[in-house]
Amino acid sequence: MNRRKISVVLMILILISITSIIIATGLGPVTVSPITVLKILIGKNVSQLEYNIVWGLRLPRVLLGFIVGASLSVTGVAMQALVRNHLADPFILGVSSGASAAATLGMLFGTFSFLGIYSLSISAFLGAAVTMILVFLLSRVNGRIHITHLLLSGVAISMIMEALTNVITISAPNALGLHNATFWMSGSLASAKWSYLTSPLWVMLICISILLINYRNLNSLLLGEEAAGTLGVNVGRVQGLLVLISSLLAGTTVAVSGSIGFVGLMTPHITRMLVGSDHKRVLPVSAFMGGLLVIWVDVIARMIIAPEELPVGILTALFGGPFFIFLLKRKEV
């Protein structure tokens, strides 16, 4: 696929994303027509109720969903390059659970409270980074990533971290306010506010840019550490960068939306089927695909048992689990 084609793909994705954001904003227990949503966006007068629903609740939620989805799928891409395997995902390898555990700990003890509104994100980032380094080191056998070790250490660490989160949320429910155990375990976008959008947006944009700048290094890393080394890539430095970036992305998203699983597994895979494995194309395309996936799954989450709603992470797990098994059963893994 040549360069012109990829720009066509990206144009189409941008158009679909804008349309989806407008339509998804209208959908929910109370449905608002896309035309009304558009009117609100361009500042025309509509009823106060519709304005409140769209501007106060839905739009920040849909936008947060898009940012979270894009971040998670780029995290998946980065982690897959790091371990050279399709099966890596922040949720499966316990990174999200590590971020949740550290975030709850941070809230309980107020460890990073001097950092104000960023305290939650920073503790989640630290949790993610520690888990990622742990899983990465545990899964290396004789200098190579061993896939069985990778998945098993991911599962074990994720269980330990979830148990820790449970202990904290159950033993100190008041200190943790709105964020209960379900939030951390299965993720939700229900509490989205405009103020939640800024830092995840910046982190996402900066991280995607850094990864794009390094696209040649990421590509050659997929050939294997030694092959990348013979192509002049400083393998250790690129791996360190990948650990840092995926922890940042995972940490920031977990802090605002809890752990929404399998997005980082599904979208990079679908993206590679569409545009191949070159990171120059995979990174931007998978970011859009992840955003789209999360906003539409979140629409289902708030419609399916309205007026109650499902945590969005439960739905992504319902789709993602079978997808994971499908990938695992294929020959190439």
């Binding site: 050279r84 395997n85 399709h86 794009l212 700048i213 390094n214 696209y215 040649r216 290094n217 590509n219 050659s220 997929l222 050939l223 294997g224 030694e226 092959a227 080394g229 013979t230 192509l231 002049g232 890539v233 400083n234 590679r272 089927m273 191949g276 494995s277 070159d278 120059k280 190439e332 893994v333």
Partner: protein, 286 residues
């Protein structure tokens, strides 16, 4: 002189793997490294192309120390093809070859017209144009090695390290691979398992035993039945193939040659057939 290796040593967990290696490689030579499994052939190559860090010594490539060069600089001078490596992601042949441009590129710098020309040329030289859009994973072993060779061509390094690149290939692909390497020209340092291949293609051979250079020289000088016995504990009979004008090595495995005692025929081989015409201490079939 293209590459001069002096006093190179390497240890792993206090075990000396390479001891005081000396090598001299001239422009355009095809140099083979032979030796038993675990003798240090691969370790030697990996020290030279920067995957392992030697404990001491130096390796001067065109007057510059290869061992202290930055990774990018090494990669723009030397290319490496090793044993087939499984790539679990979907890349086309063209994309794999294009990765050869990596050492010449800055961060985020895209492929220029010049790069595209180099990549097309590399595909052409290895007759890969027809399969340039195919998925690398679906190629046969021999085709994969050809793609990796094209990647090295796109890398534009005229010093080539080969680390047993044909180990898993059938004889047809092995010969095709080495023929292509020969055609590409450039200087080659190759760790090889197959002694007959080494005899056919190498200008000179270094024999490595227990981490030291046991002997070196032209195939005729190195591939004698004593040296082969010293390196591999295998008895052999060496003669001259008039068609290839190279040596041809016949192995005389104990399990086969011992049966039925010493026949007159094998006696004749042992006495007359040894091309190197040197005394054969351990070759008598008992």
């Amino acid at each position: 002189m293209r590459l001069q290796v002096n006093h190179l040593s390497f240890s792993y967990d206090n075990d000396a793997i390479l001891k005081d290696i000396h090598m001299e490689i001239h422009q355009g030579e095809f140099i083979g490294i032979i030796g038993a499994n675990g003798s240090g052939k691969s370790t030697l190559l990996r020290n030279l192309y920067g995957i392992l860090t030697p404990a001491g010594g130096c390796a001067m490539l065109d007057g510059k120390n290869l061992l202290t060069m930055g990774k990018k600089e090494v990669a723009s001078h030397v290319g490496v093809v090793s044993q087939e490596n499984h790539i679990p992601f979907d890349f086309t042949v063209e994309e794999i070859v294009a990765m050869g441009r990596t050492p010449h590129k800055k961060l985020f710098q895209g492929d220029t017209k010049e790069d595209e020309k180099i990549i097309r040329n590399a595909l052409k030289r290895l007759s890969l144009e027809a399969m340039s859009k195919r998925d690398y994973r679906q190629l046969s072993g021999g085709e994969k090695q050809r793609v990796l060779l094209a990647r090295v061509v796109a890398q534009e390094s005229d010093f080539l390290f080969l680390d047993e690149p044909t180990n898993h290939l059938d004889i047809g692909y092995q010969i095709q691979f080495f023929d292509l390497v020969k055609q590409l020209g450039g200087t080659v340092l190759a760790a090889m398992h197959d002694l007959n291949m080494a005899a056919l293609y190498c200008d000179r051979i270094y024999a490595i035993k227990e981490g030291k250079v046991y002997t070196c020289g032209t195939p005729k000088e190195v591939l004698t039945s004593e040296t082969i016995y010293e390196l591999f504990r295998v008895r052999s009979f060496i003669d001259y193939n008039p068609t290839t004008k190279q040596l041809s090595i016949r192995y005389l495995p104990d399990g086969i040659c011992n049966e039925g005692g010493e026949s007159n025929e094998t006696k004749a081989y042992n006495n007359v057939g040894n091309y190197s015409n040197s005394p054969v201490p351990d070759i008598r079939i008992v």
